[in-house]
Amino acid sequence: MPSERWSSEMRRIVQGSILIAALSLAGCATPPPDLPPLLSISENNCDSVPDLAGAIPTVATVEGDDVKPAGVTLDIGSHCLNNKDGKALYAVFALPDGGPYTVSLGSVPVGRAIFAPRASILDAQGTPVRDLPVTGFMFRGDAFTTLYRSHPGERYLLVTSDPATVGKSLQQLHETVQHTYISTGTAIVVINTGSDVASDTTWAHNGHIYVTVVSDKPPKK
């Protein structure tokens, strides 16, 4: 005979299952369109310095608020830059005045391609101030991400493709649990099923990148 304690335990378990379901549903999204990886840049008229006039504006948010990512899909028609180690597609993000901020740069797979990022920070004149270490990029879910703290005078984030990484393959495994809700008329039964899927993408000059900027102001209550 189930005791009150058992009932309490089961309530907690059901609540936990609902939480898992909510988490899984939150992760559902329309599959991205397939983008063949761009492995070389044939454009002859690449910029010698980044074009700051076309910088993508970013918006600072407060932790706990809805983030407002500034994103761009880089592809064959995007600006390219002559780097010492080869041509690279690039984008410049303009950071908001003020700070300090926690800035997050992410590169997400678009079909078979994932943009191979390299990033440096520029001052208001476009002069490089510092490079973000390539080793600082790690995956956060689907996004290959680096986070950094902004310093005074840092106005632009220059993101270029990394010729040294372009062409390399990336295999990843993704485990998920799907929850199917079936009504019996008097109760709802949750059927859980798992999946274990491998993805295969290629580091490329093209892909989608985004930047979020979070202010140090106290979290929203």
Binding site: I13, L19, L23, F139, H174
Partner: protein
Amino acid sequence: MSAWGGKMSKFSSRLFACLIVTGLAGCATVPEIPFDHASNPNIKTIGLLEPSMSPTGVVWLASDIGQSMGLIGALVDAGMQANRDSKFESLLAAQGVKPQDVFVQDVHAALAAHGYTVTDIHEPRPSSDLLKTYPKGGDGTDAYLDIVVYNYGYVASGIGDSTPYRPFFAARCRLVRASDGAVLMQDAVVYNPVGPASKVVTISPDPAYQFTDFDALMADPPATVKGLNAAFAASANAVGTLVQ
């Protein structure tokens, strides 16, 4: 407490530990704070607080039929979970594996690779979460690294052959300046997350370590240990990267 009550309590504890894994992966509630090395050039010696980490891991079946069968199914599930965990614990013990020692050694190596001197510090933990207060320094330590390992072991997302057991690991970490207690870095690391993830570092599992079912996992103890160690090492390296 009755035997069943004890079993249910243990089961729910395990389940919630697993929920924490999915929770960590799905919606981290603690904001990520990246380490700003340029602004903290004097951080050279890190005091590694003894991590909060269960001496035993789990072998977690993230979805199975029992979960859909109400109370009876949950009880059967609890029994099977306890059986798997017990056998896994015995396997590790037979192989002479002390998970916390292995992980701490990996963190040492990861921090040393980034040029830090590391000292081990035992600090009492009132709970299994990150500490609320930290030592005040004065012991030659520039910063304290607090790590809470929520769960580790093996997970299979389902019961079929297409969803093998793979190693998993989930932890939260925080670097605190010794002189004033300022939080210099805060993040979470999940090796082989089950489900969507965003605001935590996620590491795809090494495909070399997969076991079709629980029997296969138990049948090759050296490989099982190697897979777990791979998860520890990769996760420790991620912690090292977070403080580079």
